[in-house]
């Protein structure tokens, strides 16, 4: 069958397998090269291979220790289920991406980061151990003590070191399902970066950039910080907020629904709304962390051709100049991004993990020829400023660009070859990037 990532491009033919247990995975290993797939939320071709193992049926919760918050579960468990089941018990994921429709395995394989990365680090920092199946079907426990090198490369290793079967992660205790959110406008890029730096004590922080603003207003942003609200702050609200209504995008919208005018209108409205909501207020966890999850299948608003996401991180020293150059290139191209997010990152991960101290910018564009040309520019600017790219978002980098940005790619490829993993675990992305 045909399969793609969340951006719906590129599309590859694959043999899709739905293992129910370890035996089914061993059988698939014997049949040829494969890659594990979680819930398909990586944008590009990370989770599509010659054979693709859909891990979602392996989703049992295996153990939970309320003394430490350690959760042991199978890799296919959805983050949405973790929250639905453990928030009522007083626990929240210690690290979460901007959608809850991801699996435990996918979060570890991409070493995902959340709005608290600057303070708490990424998935790597809350993962205690992983049970990994290798090309022979052997299962190894990997942790900071056991098989540490494999542990290191598996987190952020995009499924290329084996199949994650189970893992132990830590949740954080919370008193309520509410977040106290503070929104402040920043007049331009400089103000936004300064605000994010000044907010480094906040648990969560992120800035939404109006990437169509130009001149003195270039980089104007809404800077949003958040803290888990304590019971004493609720003023009569229920401890857990009521569930939000879901809407689905029923059909593919035609590609022109999202043109520069509608994007400009959206950005202008969002900016205006953000200014009205300045200051501090209580927001339910779902709207705060997962604003897009309320619209199921929102990737269809880009039409059949799909869309591309760009995400880079620039080191502190060049972040300001680099972000300015990226924004100038975007506004010069006249292609606004519907969603543009700027965030401060903390400690670097190991292995091939994306995060490093600095700032990260994420944008998405309909997959047109003009967008491809813009991406060439954005990639060149990122390289010039010592930045690197996020594999979970990538659908089009060349092996040369990726390796130039990230010297660890060659070490990773060597590790894979040395451990005999290269021929067995392969995705369309790993083939393209020669990992």
């Amino acid at each position: 069958m045909k399969l793609s990532g969340w951006g719906r491009t590129p599309v590859h033919a694959t043999r899709l397998i739905h293992p129910e247990g370890e035996a089914d995975i061993r059988a698939a290993l014997a049949d040829g090269p494969l890659i594990a797939r979680g819930n398909g939320r990586a944008y590009g071709d990370s989770a599509v291979g010659q054979q693709t193992l859909d891990m979602r049926r392996l989703d049992h919760v295996l153990a939970f220790d309320p003394a430490t918050g350690q959760l042991v579960a199978e890799a296919g468990l959805l983050l949405a289920d973790i929250i639905a089941c453990f928030l009522p018990q007083g626990w929240f994921p210690a690290v979460t991406p901007g959608t809850r429709f991801v699996t435990l395995g996918g979060m570890i394989a991409a070493d995902v980061h959340g709005k608290n990365h600057h303070r708490d680090g990424g998935m790597r920092h809350v993962t205690d151990w992983i049970d990994l199946m290798d090309q022979d079907g052997t299962i190894r426990r990997c942790s900071r003590q056991e098989n540490p090198e494999l542990f290191e490369w598996t987190i952020g290793g995009m499924g290329l070191t084996g199949v994650i079967l189970r893992a132990a992660i830590r949740l954080r205790p919370v008193e309520t399902g509410w977040i106290r959110q503070t929104t402040r406008p920043a007049a331009n890029l400089e103000a936004a970066l300064a605000a994010l730096e000044a907010d480094s004590h906040a648990t969560y922080s992120v800035a939404w950039i109006d990437c169509l603003a130009t001149g003195d207003a270039m980089g104007r942003s809404l800077v949003m910080t958040g803290e888990h609200a304590a019971l004493s702050e609720l003023a009569g609200k229920p401890t857990l907020p009521p569930a939000r209504r879901k809407r689905a995008v029923p059909v593919d919208l035609p590609g022109f629904a999202l043109n520069r005018f509608s994007v400009r209108a959206f950005n202008a409205l969002y900016w205006a709304a953000g200014q009205r909501q300045q200051g501090s207020r209580l927001v339910d966890w779902d709207s705060y962390f997962y604003p897009l999850d309320a619209i199921l299948g929102w990737n269809r608003i880009y039409g059949r051709k799909g869309f591309l996401q760009f995400q880079c991180v620039l080191p502190d020293a060049s972040a300001h100049a680099g972000m300015a150059a990226l924004l100038r290139a975007i506004s010069a191209s006249g292609q606004g991004s519907f969603l543009a997010v700027l965030k401060r990152m903390g400690a670097a991960g190991g292995g091939l993990s994306f995060p490093m101290p600095g700032h990260t910018l994420a944008l998405d564009f309909p997959a047109t020829a003009r967008a491809q040309a813009l991406f060439d520019r954005l990639e060149a600017i990122t390289l010039d400023h010592g930045g690197r790219f996020y594999l979970a978002k990538d659908a089009r980098l060349s092996a040369g660009t990726f390796r130039a940005a990230d010297p660890r790619a060659a070490d990773f490829a060597r590790f894979r070859a040395g451990a005999g993993l290269t021929a067995q675990f392969a995705s369309a992305q790993s083939a393209r990037l020669e990992l």
Partner: protein, 252 residues
């Protein structure tokens, strides 16, 4: 915030054929609503992970029971030995068989017939009598649109499902006014172990979670017959209305 297992849940549900993907999703749906869960399957040991999962996720008590639909002589004892008579009983028992092979292998065909009709009807009869004596309860049978008209490609399975659908209809009729409600669930395609490897049309195929949600809602709204997805009601209406002289020549 709740951190202990609730040993006295307000209601319990019995799932027959508990290892099926649909039953698994349905157990989660009822557990999320606070039901205590009884899981009955041929090899309950293999459901240990399911029990742990449900208890950790939803803090409800879960009991595993050994049950074989084909061993009808044991069904009375099975019901008598239940820790307590459940409020809801759901049959997700089913065996698709291999139509073409089973046309020649008649004993195998009979196993398909017994597994989809005789076995489920037998256990639900015992439960229905106990529910009727108590004066309350809900019985939910998962049948199939395959039972709405026999077709060359799956009539062995389909004929048994047709019998089961008629059985549920009659049971509903008998128990109406006696406090026991009977629901017939007619799925079209479901993406499960039963259909793994088949190339099913996406728009007509439900996920196990979707079926579970439909079952739970049907109970809340006291529906009689549901199709999942609902479009199947229309499709089967059309298929049933094709005149036999035409139908017998069709390949569908």
């Amino acid at each position: 915030m709740q951190t202990e297992i609730d040993r006295n849940p307000k209601a319990t549900v019995l799932l027959l054929g508990a290892r099926s993907d649909v039953a698994r999703a349905t157990a989660r749906r009822y557990a999320a609503a606070g039901y205590g869960i009884l899981l009955a399957a041929r090899d309950p040991e293999r459901l240990q992970a399911e029990k742990t999962d449900l208890e950790l996720r939803y803090r409800v008590p879960v009991t595993l029971l050994a049950f074989d639909a084909l061993r009808i002589e044991d069904h009375a004892a099975f019901v008598a030995a239940l820790p307590a008579l459940p409020d809801v009983a759901i049959s997700a028992i089913g065996l698709l068989g291999r139509q073409e092979a089973d046309e020649a292998d008649i004993p195998a065909a009979i196993t398909v017939m017994r597994s989809n009709y005789e076995g489920p009807a037998s256990i639900l009869s015992h439960l229905a009598n106990a529910f009727a004596a108590r004066g309350s309860g809900t019985i939910i049978g998962i049948s199939s649109v395959a039972g709405d008209r026999g077709r060359a490609t799956n009539y062995i399975y389909g004929s048994a499902k047709a019998g089961f659908t008629a059985f549920l209809s009659g049971l509903r009729n008998r128990l109406a006014g006696r406090g026991v409600h009977v629901i017939t669930v007619s799925p079209g395609f479901i993406a499960t172990r039963m259909t793994a490897g088949m190339d099913l049309p996406e728009k007509l195929t439900a996920s196990p979670d979707e079926v579970a949600e439909a079952i739970f809602k049907a109970q809340e709204k006291r529906r009689n017959v549901i199709y999942v997805r609902p479009i199947w009601r229309l499709i089967m209406l059309v298929i049933r209305s094709i005149p036999e002289p035409v139908f017998k020549r069709l390949k569908i």
